[in-house]
């Protein structure tokens, strides 16, 4: 059984499964639903598409419901506890957003409907486009990308298309700092361009001398996260932008960390030409196993014609009596579609609801509280956990999970032990340039009491690391599943709940 396989064996014996496989529930012949007799003639299926047996669970509706509800009780989620997973912005997802997404006018429409019959949905998308343009200071927005990485891909394709349109096919290099999200170099490679990695300096900022060295007429642009992945605001962002623009490149902002900027600074004002949002982070749409992402791209006037489409535009301005008519159009030199239809629509509704509820002043306050919470926890942990960059942080900060006097303790042990204190662990081992990194992002939705409780747990664990290191090495102790053997899980990938039948048999 899958769970047996990945659990570390204690005393040579695999622990019993926490929950049987659905195939081990039920009984032969048991069914969940009775289908009515067909009211149309039965069609004959081609014999080669038929099979004699089908290996499906034989369970009642109640068997299924109880099985999955029991499994859900094993979950940890933002609705059950503090989730300081750095870089992921696991803020609370207001339930109002769920109500809005379930309104029939949003939930029960079809993407192939005549646009005239879904004007409300299109008006919502149009308004969201304009809000995202305002928050970024950019000129135009496409809601198409399905998630952040696809937003990056769209951004780099637009940069490439812009250079090609200007007859500059020789611009093939994208500069990426060594602290970047792994998706940045991956995006560049996917777009067929070349990654040039540049190091960070001792303060966690981009090394400007190295940047000047690599900046030349073969540079297409630079991708950078603001605040960067170490949680610190690039102190020289203006110089960086000027250096890249000075050699003819464009600036891409990875908007993963907008929760530290929204309502306070506009990427376009910093000089960026293109950016993506992570609606699922900044604007509280469910993610992390809870839902799809959404990664709209925002661009200035240089790139507006290249946006992926379709985007929502006003076809007819209307009048005092008639509302405007919204339609779906492709920008003139569009890089094309990135996915079927119009982005992850349900996420757009939720983000729209979030922005509508907060308003401009509210989003500004969100950012301030996110930054305050992160700095509060950082200040309380300082002196106990090593901090590679001792400076005011954005909405998250990085510390190191190891000590000279606690030999054999790694960041992973601290994270596993945190689970015993009923906290979701922070992000481990990212950014890659910090040894034993623990990236902590509390978000603005946590109270001071929640931040304090987390700090107390972290301080207690730091003490345990010296006094009883095995408590950490063997953690977690209080969770339904103990320490998993992630080496074995990585090498013996079992993704199916049932052994795959030999297709040849």
């Amino acid at each position: 059984m899958t769970i047996d396989l990945i659990l570390q064996k204690k005393n040579g014996e695999a622990p019993p499964p926490l929950e049987p496989l659905i195939y081990d529930l039920g009984a032969p012949g048991r069914i969940g639903v009775n289908l009515p007799d067909p009211d149309v003639p039965e069609a004959e299926l081609p014999a080669d598409l038929l099979r004699a047996t089908l290996d499906l669970p034989e369970v009642s509706e109640m068997d299924v419901v109880r099985h999955f509800v029991r499994l859900s009780h094993l979950n940890y989620s933002i609705d059950t506890g503090f989730y300081p997973l750095g870089s992921c912005t696991m803020k609370y997802n207001p339930k109002l957003n769920e109500d809005m997404a379930r309104l029939p006018g949003f939930a029960e429409i079809h993407p192939l409907q005549d646009p005239a019959s879904v004007q409300g949905a299109l008006a919502m998308m149009y308004t969201l486009q304009s809000w995202l343009a305002e928050i970024s200071g950019m000129q135009a927005v496409s809601l198409q990308p399905a998630a952040g990485a696809q937003g990056e891909f769209a951004g780099i394709l637009m940069i490439r298309a812009y250079h090609l349109a200007n007859g500059e096919a020789h611009r093939t290099k994208i500069i990426v700092p060594d602290s970047a999200h792994g998706t940045n170099p991956a995006t560049t490679a996917m777009a067929g361009l070349e990654v040039v990695e540049i190091p960070s300096d001792a303060n966690g900022d981009v090394d400007l001398d190295k940047l000047r060295e690599v900046c030349g007429e073969d540079v297409a642009g630079m991708m950078i996260t603001v605040p960067n992945t170490l949680g610190v605001f690039e102190a020289h962002i203006k110089e960086i932008v000027d250096i890249i623009h000075g050699c003819g490149g464009l600036m891409y902002m990875d908007g993963a960390n907008m929760n530290a900027m929204m309502g306070v600074a506009k990427p376009a004002d910093l000089g960026f030409d293109v950016m993506h949002y992570n609606l699922h982070k900044t604007f509280s749409t469910p993610h992390g196993g809870g839902g799809p992402g959404s990664g709209p791209v925002a661009v200035n006037e240089k790139l507006a014609d290249f946006l992926p489409g379709p985007i929502v535009t006003i076809i007819d301005e209307g009048s005092d009596e008639e509302p405007p008519l919204y339609g779906l159009t492709m920008p003139d030199k569009s890089i094309g579609r990135l996915k079927a239809f119009y982005g992850n629509f349900g996420m757009l509704v939720r983000a729209f609801a979030y922005i509508a509820v907060y308003g401009g002043a509210g989003l500004h306050a969100v950012t301030k509280h996110a930054v305050l919470n992160a700095n509060y926890i950082r200040a309380r942990l300082k002196g106990v956990y090593p901090m590679p960059f001792d400076r005011i942080c954005g909405h998250e900060f990085v510390c190191e999970g190891h000590w000279p006097d606690a030999e054999g303790i790694h960041a992973l042990d601290i994270s596993k032990r945190l689970m015993d204190y009923d906290f979701h662990p922070p992000t481990n081992y990212f950014p890659l340039i910090v040894p034993e990194a623990l990236l902590i992002e509390p978000t603005e939705t946590e109270s001071k009491e929640a931040c304090d409780a987390f700090v107390e747990a972290m301080l207690a664990i730091a003490q345990e690391a010296r006094e009883n290191p095995d408590l950490l090495h063997d953690a977690p102790h209080k969770t339904p599943v103990g320490r998993v053997d992630d080496v074995r899980a990585a090498k013996q990938l079992v993704l199916c709940c049932r052994p795959v039948l030999d297709p040849e048999a």
Partner: protein, 131 residues
């Protein structure tokens, strides 16, 4: 803290690769420090015999439970042997980085490539400084 080792006669890059010259060929692998930092290695993507490698450019990828990392060639040359045992047992890089964990063997195209590499003492100092 330093419980990792170096190999006395090898040369090193600042990116934590070692190269050991044996006649007109050289073996290349990851250092003990690098495997310690990466922790348990679960997958290695190796090039093929006959491929050429260029000094400073990636020739392989190693994936640990922590991260995936490129491995860079300390010198240019043509690959004459690949340690295919790592396909099934990548953990040999963890257990024996300078022995059974070697990655490729190349025929050097220019012995001068080795000149700017670190010796064992200099590399140990470089690794120690990073903690």
């Amino acid at each position: 803290m330093a419980d990792w080792k170096t190999l006395e006669n090898a040369k090193y890059t600042e990116n934590d690769e070692w190269i050991l010259v044996e006649g007109d060929t050289a073996k290349i692998g990851l250092t003990d420090y690098a495997q310690d930092q990466l922790s348990d290695i679960v997958f290695v993507d190796l090039p093929e015999v006959g491929d050429s490698v260029t000094k400073g450019e990636a020739f392989a990828t190693v994936e640990s439970v922590k991260a995936a990392s490129d491995v860079y060639a300390p010198a240019s040359g043509t690959i004459v042997a690949v340690n295919s045992a790592l396909d099934d047992a990548p953990e040999q890089i963890n257990s024996d980085p300078y022995g059974a964990g070697w990655m490729i063997q190349i025929k050097l195209s220019d012995p001068n490539d080795l000149k700017d590499l670190l010796d064992a003492a200099a590399y140990a100092k470089h690794a120690e400084a990073r903690g």
